[in-house]
């Protein structure tokens, strides 16, 4: 839901509360419509053996739509979040993205090179980049945390964790 950055209206200090509200309400409305759509496909009435599979979800979807429509109207008519309240200031949003984007890269890293190596790298890079630590310290903490996790899961609990599509740990026999 990072698309909110693009939709500020005049709120120079950041994303306005109003636009964030509208985006989320529209998103929920779409989601509700999606639920209704699939429920209708499944059948939302009364079948041979009782209620059909879409019977319950249909009403759930309907209530999502009603709830988000009311919220949307409340926002647009200004009964809620009056004035120019700010959802998130640009400076704060930058901080949030500084955590979120590396986290997304980290998850991609897990997919490719596995939890242990990706975690060590992520912690080290985070510390150096955002914490302004030296590389030595970053690497020590990163590798340390990964090593402890490795010992705990692979050796102690015998629960193997994901090692990635290109498993670098296969070099040491795991």
């Amino acid at each position: 839901m990072t698309e909110k950055q693009g939709s500020d209206e005049g709120a120079s200090a950041g994303v306005s509360m109003r636009s964030a509200e509208v985006v989320v309400a529209l998103f929920m409305l779409a989601l509700g419509a999606l639920v209704i759509f699939d429920s209708v496909r499944l059948g939302w009435g009364w079948g041979a053996e009782g209620p059909e599979a879409g019977y319950f979800p249909f009403y759930i979807g309907a209530m999502i739509c009603v709830g988000s429509l009311v919220t949307l109207f409340q926002v647009l008519l200004g009964s809620q979040s009056k004035g120019h309240k700010v959802f998130v200031e640009w400076s704060a949003l930058r901080l949030v993205l500084q955590v979120l984007l590396p986290a997304a890269v980290y998850v991609l890293g897990i997919q490719l090179i596995g939890i242990y190596v990706a975690s060590a790298a992520y912690i080290a890079v985070f510390m150096v980049w955002l914490g302004k630590y030296g590389w030595t310290r970053g690497i020590i903490v990163g590798v340390g945390v990964s090593a402890v996790t490795f010992a705990m899961f692979e050796i102690w609990f015998q629960v193997p964790l994901f090692k990635g599509e290109f498993n670098p740990l296969s070099l040491i026999g795991y």
């Binding site: 500084q98 998850v107 912690i123 985070f126 510390m127 914490g131």
Partner: protein, 499 residues
């Protein structure tokens, strides 16, 4: 008397050296979780849940519930020393706790908070001991319509009691139900809401949602505040503890009132957070020193802490006796019970006596262990908070990712966790509540099952929900809860126009 016997039997189950060890480990982990930003009772337990699968269920649930007690205690430490609520229910504790710490009375504030927490929990446990078996016995005669009515009441009270806009509560809750419906429909075997994406067949696991919503979401929120911890130092020694304990009895009235508010809010799923605010507000109004609240009054720490702990503990009553959790953390515990093959609900008290009473006995012991640990180890836990955020944050993200992966050993879950994290962040900021979302996700299938069975019984006639006094009164209570905020508004308007 039957309960007392059962309870003593429970103590014999819980009091093995292994279980005692787990209790101390659990409480320590719990306090740690409560102190760290981004880790709380709900997602902390969700992350640790897979590690307990190999333990006997009684030991596992003892450890997990002790983590919960620890987390409840831990929230107070950050509130008082750092003015940062470690948990949502300790927000109200900052109002008077932090000013006390600023005046150099941190030790006193912490002792007050911990003792109040203990009192609140103890009150709630005694209530569970005597009330839960009765509720369970009563619920044995429930059929599908009654169960659906109880679900209905649960969710209506969220809307009625919540402080968020009611339609946002509705949307959040229904989103939970919709997510719960994803996957194979257990009755017809049809695939629902997966839109051809077969990896979604398993559905959304609420543990992943909890880890993302509360864990990653919280990290994003704390990041935004550009966290710089600048805390007060705390000294707790025996002298301070005893001095504080001497002062506490004169606030017995506030304590008792907060216990009752907490228990009520915990059973009806208002939860610990509203309970703490409500209790603080009422204490402020009722106390002779009400005007001085916010400047560091001990009473302002007692009220929210007692109520939060009482509510947090009381939330286990409906979880155990009806299978309906009163809080997200109770929901995670319920998820654990299901994985261990124990179906929470009225039959649990008949079929799994050892387990139930072992757990209830462990609540007494776990809270005593908790009190001892927090009173002795505060400086240690406070030191952890001085570890810079730029180290803590990535480590917590790593812990969350591992926790999400271990639930089903599925890579997709880590991506979903991230997605839920962003959602948690946006929802929190726009005051869409997360608790009903999580509870609906957990209870969705059961609620739908009960609804469909009831519909089958009546051949689609909605009047079945009002067909006898029992189901009718539960439904009626639910409807009352639903219109509660409207009635409250009407009353104030009437009073205004009368004045």
């Amino acid at each position: 008397m039957e309960e007392i016997n059962a309870l003593f039997h429970g103590f014999s189950v819980a009091l093995t050296p292994f279980n005692l060890l787990l209790m101390f480990i659990g409480v320590t982990l719990g306090v740690l979780i409560g102190v760290l930003p981004g880790l709380g009772g709900a997602n902390g337990i969700a992350i640790l849940l897979p590690l307990t699968f190999t333990m006997p269920p009684t030991s596992a649930v003892i450890m997990l519930s002790c983590i919960y007690w620890g987390a409840l205690f831990g929230g107070a430490i950050t509130s008082i020393l750092f003015n940062i609520p470690g948990e949502p229910w300790s927000v109200a504790t900052t109002f008077d706790g932090y000013p006390m710490a600023q005046q150099g009375k941190a030790g006193e504030a912490l002792t007050t908070a911990f003792t109040s927490s203990f009192v609140g929990a103890f009150f709630a446990i005694v209530m569970i001991t005597f009330l839960a078996p009765l509720v369970a016995k009563f619920a044995l005669q429930f059929g599908p319509p009654e169960f659906f009515a109880v679900f209905f009441l649960t969710f209506c009270s969220f809307i009625g009691m919540g402080k968020e806009p009611p339609f946002k509560i509705l949307v959040a809750m229904m989103l939970g139900f919709a997510l719960a419906a994803v996957g194979i429909d257990t009755v017809t075997g049809q695939l629902r809401l997966i839109f051809g994406w077969h990896e979604l067949m398993r559905g959304f696991d609420f543990l992943i949602a909890v880890i993302g919503l509360f864990g990653i979401g919280e990290i994003l929120l704390s990041m935004e505040e550009g966290l710089s911890f600048s805390g007060r130092t705390a000294k707790i020694n025996t002298r301070i503890v005893i001095e504080t304990w001497k002062k506490l009895p004169k606030y017995w009235m506030t304590s008792l009132r907060s216990c009752i508010i907490g228990c009520w809010m915990g059973i009806t799923p208002g939860g610990a957070t509203p309970a703490s605010f409500m209790s603080y507000g009422i204490a402020k109004r009722m106390s002779p020193d009400g005007a001085k609240f916010g400047t560091g009054m001990a009473e302002g720490v007692i009220a929210p802490e007692t109520a939060a702990h009482a509510a947090g503990t009381a939330a286990l009553l409906p979880m155990l006796s009806l299978g309906i959790p009163g809080s997200p953390t109770a929901a995670v515990l319920l998820g654990g019970l299901l994985i261990w093959g124990l179906q929470p609900g009225p039959l649990l008290f008949v079929e799994q006596k050892d387990f139930v009473w072992g757990l209830i006995a462990s609540m007494y012991l776990g809270n005593i262990a908790g009190l001892i640990i927090v009173l002795t180890c505060v400086p240690l836990f406070a030191a952890i908070l001085r570890v810079p955020f730029s180290i803590i944050a990535p480590v917590i993200v790593v812990i969350c990712a591992i926790g999400a992966y271990t639930v089903h050993n599925a890579m997709l879950d880590i991506w979903l966790m991230l997605l839920f994290g962003v959602m948690g962040y946006a929802f929190k900021k726009l005051s869409y509540p997360l608790a009903p979302l999580v509870l609906a996700l957990v209870l969705g299938d059961q609620a739908e099952g009960a609804f469909r069975q009831a519909m089958l019984m009546s051949q689609g006639d909605m009047r079945i929900f009002f067909s006898n006094w029992l189901v009718g009164s539960i439904m009626g209570l639910g409807l009352l809860m639903l219109v509660w905020p409207v009635m409250g508004k009407l009353m104030t308007q009437l009073r205004k126009s009368a004045a």
